[in-house]
Structure formats: C-alpha cells, structure tokens
Amino acid sequence: MRNLTVNGSALTSGGTFRNVTIRGDATISGDVQCAKWKVFGNADVSGNMTAEWLNIFGQANIRGNVHVKTIKLFGQADIRGNTNVDDMRLRGAAHIQGNITGGAIHGYGEMNVSGDCETESFSVKGVVQIANTLNAERVDLSLYFADSRISEIGGKTIRVKRSKWNVMNLFKGMANTSARLMTEIVEGDEIYLEHTSAQIVRGDRIIIGPGCDIELIEYQTSLQQSERAVVKEKRKI
C-alpha cells in the first residue's frame, strides 16, 4: 500500500494509505484512511478520517468524522464531526464540534466538546468544556488554570478536584488559582467534588469538599460535607 509524505506545502487528495506523514503544511481533500497519520506542522482534511494511529505535533483540522484507535495530541486538533477513539492522550487542545465516544481520554490541556462525551474513563487536568453530557465510568477532573463548564456529568465514580501540582505558582500572579467547575447536574455512585458550583448532585456516597456551592443534594448511603462548602438543601432518599 502507498505511503503519503508531504514535506513543505502541498494540496493533495485523500485515499487509502499505509503511513501518512506531513512535515509542513498539507491540505487534503476527501476522506483519508491509513494506518498511521503523523502531522508535524499543519494539516487540513476536508473529509472523514479513519486510522489506527494519529499523532499530531502541531495542528490538525478535520471537517468530517474521525474514527481512530489511538490519538496522541501534542498541539491542537479541531474536529467538526463526531469522534470515536479507543485511547486519546491529550497534551494540548482538542475542539470537537460533534460527539466524542470511546475508551479512555487522559492528559493535560483543554478539551472542548459541543455535543456529548461518552467514554469508559475520562481523566483530564486542565480546562474542560462540554456542552451536553459527560458520561464515563470513571471521571477524574483536575481543575486548573481556568473555569470548566460541563452541563451534566454521569457515571460510576466522579472525582473533581482543584489541581495542586502547579509550576505556575512559581510565577505568582500569572496562574489563575481559582479555577472552578460549573455544572448543572452530577449523578454517580461515588462522588467527590471540590470547588464546584452545581444545581443538583445525586448519588449513593457523596463527599462535598471545600469551595463547593450546591443547591440540592440527594444521597442514598452517605454524605460528608466540608465546612468550607455551601449546600442549600440535603435529602436522604
């Protein structure tokens, strides 16, 4: 099977390849199917993308849907369609206009989803914005740098904390140490929240940590609340 290599700048059409390597700037029209897609620089794809591996060092814009096993993202990716990925390692920013589904999403940086995010595990340090629902077996969110917004979070274990690891603290004043999570509904079996504003939190075992501001909590087995948290109403179901 053919390889596609772009060194410099090129405008090319899609197709089925073994390895696609882009060093520089490439605009690909049409769908791309390949085993490995490496971008050092900038790539635009006007169609759908199917690949085993997707390594982005730089920037990639994909207009269609993305179906990949592994994504390593050092840089930025903009995906207009829906994304399905088994394992996504984030070191930068991912903007997804559709939904994202898959296995695991983990890493640092910024994650922006205009639809739903449904994965087995979701573990991100940084800023997360999800317009609809974040549904994952395990949600592990470290708030860092700026506010995160997620309309609805659901899953088995949900942990939201403010990141302590903070190189930026060395440059006092530069870092925003007041990162919060704004959400409407959190539902899970085991929930730990910190610095979160929510309307409703429902679950079995709930721990409300410092800095929370919650309208209503409905719990089944247990509820612990930090002195530095505000909860308007609590109900045991």
């Binding site: 077996e137 088995k156 409703i200 429902r202 079995d204």
Partner: protein, 217 residues
Amino acid sequence: MEQELISKKELLELTNISYGQLYRWKRKKLIPEEWFIRKSTFTGQETFFPKEKILARIEKIKQMKDDLSLDELASMFSPNPTTIALHKNDIIERNIVSELALHFYIEQKGEQHVFLFDQLLQLYVFDRLLQTGEMSLGEGKSVFDVFERHYKKIQGKSCELLIVRKMGISTCLLSTNGNELYFEDGAKVVARLHVPSCIEELKIKVTEGMDKWSEKI
C-alpha cells in the same frame, strides 16, 4: 399517543439499579438515546423515560447480563438488522425459524444463547428447505458447513444455494453471479435458493416484530 413517563430518580428506585449502571448502559447503547427525554421542572432540568419501555428493557438487561457481555446485549438491541443478534428464546417466540431447525442447529454446533445475523441466515435457509420438504433434517449439516466456510467470501455478491441429489446422496453448493452449471445424468437439482432474497425476507421478519417486540421487552 401520550405515553406515561417516569423520572430518572423514580426509575432507579423502582428497578434498584445505580446511576453508574444506568449511565454505563446508555454508553453501551443498551438504552436508546431517544428514550432520554429532557424536561425542565421546578428543580431544573430533569430526565424522563417512556415508562413501560424502559422498565421492560431494564428487566431484560438485568435478566441477561449474567449470561451475556454488554457488547452482545448491545448488538441484540441494535436496530440495524445486519448487526442484529437474537436470543434463542426470541427466535422461537417470534417464529423466525421452527423449533425443530433451531434444535438441530444447536445439536450440531453446540449450545449457544445468542445468534448473529449470519447464523440466523443459515437457520432461515435451512428451515425453508425443511418446510418445503426439499431437504431432510440430516442434510442440514452440509448447509451450515457450506455457509460457515464460504459465505464470508461471497458476502454482498448475488449468490444461489443449490442442493443436488443423485441416487439418494445429496450435496449442496453456493454459486455466485448465476454461473451456468451442468450436471451429469441422474443428478437432480432438488432446490435452488436465491440467497439475497432470503436475506431480505429474513431482515423483514427480524425487524417486523421489532417494534412490537421492543415494547414487550
């Protein structure tokens, strides 16, 4: 028709499942997206479900989740016929193939609970040949074998299944694209089935009962 709704909270109480389970089943597409109905109430956004459907579906999942993996369950509830899989009991209940054919298949291939579309197709073809009397039960094994070994290669092509008999000995073959076939004297083509039309018939049979069926389950 206005259907009765149930809120998420009531649903969990009634069925005794946890949020984790509900979200997991949604992720695995065991519960269709359309059943999640968002409504605003005085406490903010709330999610409701069509009561009868969701209760039946959860009951079904709870019953079968010990025997089957979540992925197997998902393909069972899939609306796309070619990715569909049916439980043994449903095949009998919905009369897709006769019990006799199904039992013979299980006897030959070993006990199994879930049948994928390809297996259903083998069963359906076999059952049809049985019903028309063109084939005996014992000859069924050759139908299963020829499908199992060769059907993958010709999938998507137009093909025919032929049963040929000479002096009481029978054999069966799959032929693609209507190739011309000539036999020796004394050989008789006892049955000739156009496989794509069988697939269509089966798809209709499988999806037909689906609405009624999914309400029931």
